[in-house]
């Protein structure tokens, strides 16, 4: 009698500690080896693209925050850039510097979360909490400019919502922050937001060094990541990979350099690239990106200190007039009313604008038919392209490597499912 030996199927997620949200991965397993991986997406689909069609342009900026909820302002940036292109306007230089600076703050925020969760997936618990310590400081920057710690809604077509605050909010005494701890926290927060960022960026490279000390030379960490999930440059390009996934494979492609937007052409930074295209290289690339982002922030802080100025266009067709003007000027009052009820009409046309979001190329394809609402918005999410390569990459790896691979993809289901 013969008995057929079959592989078995395992349902990895959608509720799984390493699923990074709601990834459902149907794995066909031969023992511990993965024979086929079938990612199922759509469990976090909220129809953001469709929702945007039913609202004036500005009202969808808030939805962009909620796509990739780890790189909020970068998503806003792509959408706002697309509107600006269709309108034919450009934000003032100071606003562009602020955008550059906050894009990089966002990149650090995202990479900190990534290193934390990736470490946690591979069992290194400490990095997670260390990374969140620094994330907290940067969240405070978000809060200082926009009032929200995550879903900032700060960028606007024509500039940013308001100028950087002259006073960084301080921590109050609480059971969690008191004594020397409170003094240390507030010592950075004596001056403006720029002073705070100055202090933060002076300190941050040493913090990256701390994470690297725990992981980079760690033999277990290397065994878990070196040679795991190797993606050749050709494969990476075939699957439409961008960001650290592509650079980890040795392709030097970064929209900030290749198609500079905002003020990236004016700041000095390097693009790290990997050699082998494995999880370890992508880890090193992201760690170095944090250091480079730190450099960019420092340059922006310097420029912003020296150059005060408007952060919003004085074009009342797209940007609201100030409250003071509204009290006295009839025109301003009307503009305000029109802007917050009807919004503005965008000339008919279509455009695609992309930014180098922390996870890769985040693009916004915008079609306008001349109305006050977009005719169609398509968002190009980097995570979606990356995830589609899952089966090709993890075939033949072990179950534990699938977890390492999900970590290195840096998936967030807000933007995969949109």
């Amino acid at each position: 009698m013969t008995q057929e030996i079959r592989n078995y199927t395992m349902n990895f997620g959608p509720q799984h500690p390493a699923a990074h949200g709601v990834l459902r991965l149907v794995l066909e397993m031969d023992g511990e080896t993965v024979v086929r991986a079938d990612p199922h997406v759509g469990l976090l689909h909220r129809g953001s693209e469709k929702l945007a069609e039913s609202k004036p342009f500005n009202q969808s900026i808030g939805y962009m925050d909620r796509l990739d909820y780890m790189s909020m302002m970068c998503n806003e940036h792509a959408y706002v850039l697309a509107i600006e292109t269709l309108l034919g306007i450009e934000a003032p230089a100071r606003a562009q510097y602020i955008r550059t600076m906050f894009d990089e703050i966002t990149r650090i925020l995202n990479h900190l979360l990534w290193i934390g969760t990736h470490g946690l997936d591979l069992g290194a618990m400490a990095v997670f909490l260390y990374a969140f310590r620094e994330r907290e400081e940067l969240m405070d920057c978000y809060e200082a400019v926009s009032g929200a710690r995550m879903h900032a809604n700060y960028y606007r077509p024509g500039g940013v919502y308001r100028d950087l605050p002259a006073q960084m909010p301080q921590h109050r005494e609480s059971p969690w922050h008191k004594g020397n701890d409170l003094k240390r926290l507030n010592s950075w927060r004596e001056g403006s937001l720029l002073d705070f960022l100055d202090a933060f960026t002076a300190d941050f490279p040493s913090k990256v060094g701390e994470y690297e000390e725990l992981l980079t030379g760690n033999r277990i960490w290397k065994q878990r990541t070196v040679g795991i999930g190797v993606i050749s440059p050709e494969l990476a390009q075939q699957w439409g990979m961008t960001g650290a996934m592509l650079r980890g494979s040795g392709v030097e492609w970064d929209l900030r350099k290749k198609q500079p937007y905002a003020k990236y052409a004016e700041v000095d930074f390097d693009i790290p690239v990997g050699v082998n295209g494995d999880c370890y290289d992508r880890y090193l690339v992201r760690m170095e990106e944090m250091r480079q982002s730190n450099r960019i922030i420092r340059q922006c802080v310097q420029w912003l200190r020296a150059n005060p100025g408007p952060v919003m266009l004085k074009n009342f067709k797209v940007a609201p007039p100030s409250r003071v003007e509204m009290k006295e000027d009839m025109e301003a009052m009307i503009h305000h009313f029109k802007l917050f009820s009807e919004g503005y009409c965008v000339p008919a046309g279509e455009t695609y604008r992309a930014v180098e979001a922390p996870k890769g190329e985040f693009g916004c394809y915008l079609v306008s038919d001349g109305a006050n609402k977009p005719f169609r918005v398509h968002l190009r999410a980097p995570g979606f392209a990356h995830l589609s390569s899952m089966d090709t990459v993890v075939r033949g790896h072990m179950l534990a490597d699938v977890v390492a691979m999900i970590g290195t993809y840096d998936l967030v289901f807000g933007d995969v499912d949109r």
């Binding site: 591979l122 069992g123 909490l129 760690n218 277990i220 878990r224 179950l399």
Partner: protein, 342 residues
């Protein structure tokens, strides 16, 4: 008749309770200590709400677990499912019978103490394998398979490490093994010095044997969720937990007894009070070793399951085999001073 009954039944039970009850309390405090220490290492606070400094946290958790329902998964093998936690707990507690706390404090001064220990510690894995199989869950089954593979690799390395100790001490009795480490040089008379490589291997194998980070692939939180006990809840889960921590403490005690001179003082006897051996020394040593478990857990990433096997088979076992020969030569040529125990 009554005298005999008291002699043979009541006193042993009292002794057993004298060991197991403090052990269970020690496990509770160890869990609390672990959460505190890992909290500090992670720049957070750890439990601090229940009782002074959060001291009662572990008891609150225990009470919560005991009050929860034990859920039996569909199509699970009922008998084995309930038997498995007991199969892990009983050997974990029974192994303590031969542990000498000081030269006179030992429940059973068995001649084949080390053999008994080996038998008991390897029994525990049956509970894990049965738990994984009986749960009727693929995650649990994977955990059980990993655990089985891991135990096979590390029992061998651990056994060979013990052989080195036996060769030097010339006895299977744990009290004799400690006495063999006594001498005028204190700290430098203990077996860790001549057996340094196997001492390290023994402790790492002990970490692997108890399924602790970085060898916690049988639980593999981020891969197979909780591994073999993913389907267990309530008191059944609490029993697994208790067994795991009792085993950790056991491994810490064994490392102290086999390599670090048990209750002996690290200082020469001429140093007065601190030069005298005592149960406190054993506790201090075991505390240091158990602290290492927490330190590992707080800082290391997790091994992959095949890498653990490679470490066991290709690194630990060859080194241990070589050191068995080295230990034999050391003993034969009288290069190690052996205490008065033999």
């Amino acid at each position: 008749m009554l005298d005999q009954l008291i002699q043979q039944l009541v006193w042993p039970i009292v002794y057993i309770l004298c060991i197991t009850l403090p052990l269970i309390v020690a496990v509770a405090m160890f869990v609390f200590w672990e959460r505190k220490v890992i909290g500090w290492m992670h720049v957070r606070m750890g439990p601090n709400k229940i009782g002074p400094f959060g001291l009662l946290q572990a008891f609150a958790d225990t009470i919560k677990l005991l009050l929860k329902e034990v859920i039996l998964p569909t199509n699970a093998s009922r008998f084995l499912y309930y038997l498995a936690p007991l199969l892990t707990l009983i050997p974990a507690l029974a192994a303590w019978a031969v542990i000498p706390f000081s030269s006179r404090m030992v429940l059973s001064n068995a001649n084949a103490g080390v053999l008994y220990l080996l038998a008991m510690t390897s029994m525990g894995v049956y509970g894990i394998i049965l738990a994984g199989w009986a749960s009727n869950s693929r995650y649990a089954l994977l955990g059980a398979m990993r655990s089985a593979a891991q135990v096979i690799s590390y029992e061998l390395a651990m056994g060979l490490c013990l052989v080195c100790v036996l060769v030097l001490a010339g006895s299977l009795n744990l009290t004799d093994i400690v006495n063999a480490q006594a001498g005028s040089k204190g700290l430098f008379d203990w077996f860790w010095l001549p057996l340094l490589p196997v001492f390290v291997i023994y402790f790492i194998s002990g970490v692997a044997e108890t399924n602790r980070a970085p060898f916690d692939v049988a639980e593999g939180e981020s891969e197979i969720v909780a591994g073999f006990h993913v389907e267990y809840s309530g008191s059944a889960f609490a029993i697994f937990f208790l067994a795991e921590y009792a085993n950790m403490i056991l491994v810490s005690f064994l490392a102290s007894i086999l390599f670090m001179g048990g209750w002996l003082s690290p200082f020469p006897a001429t140093w007065g009070f601190i030069g005298h051996g005592g149960v406190l020394w054993l506790f201090i040593k075991a505390f240091v070793f158990s602290f290492m478990f927490l330190w590992f857990r707080a800082s290391f990433p997790r091994y992959r399951y095949d890498q653990i096997m490679r470490l066991g088979w290709k690194v630990f076992i060859p080194i241990a085999i070589v050191w068995v020969l080295v230990a034999g030569c050391l003993k034969y040529f009288g290069l190690v001073s052996i205490g008065p125990g033999v």
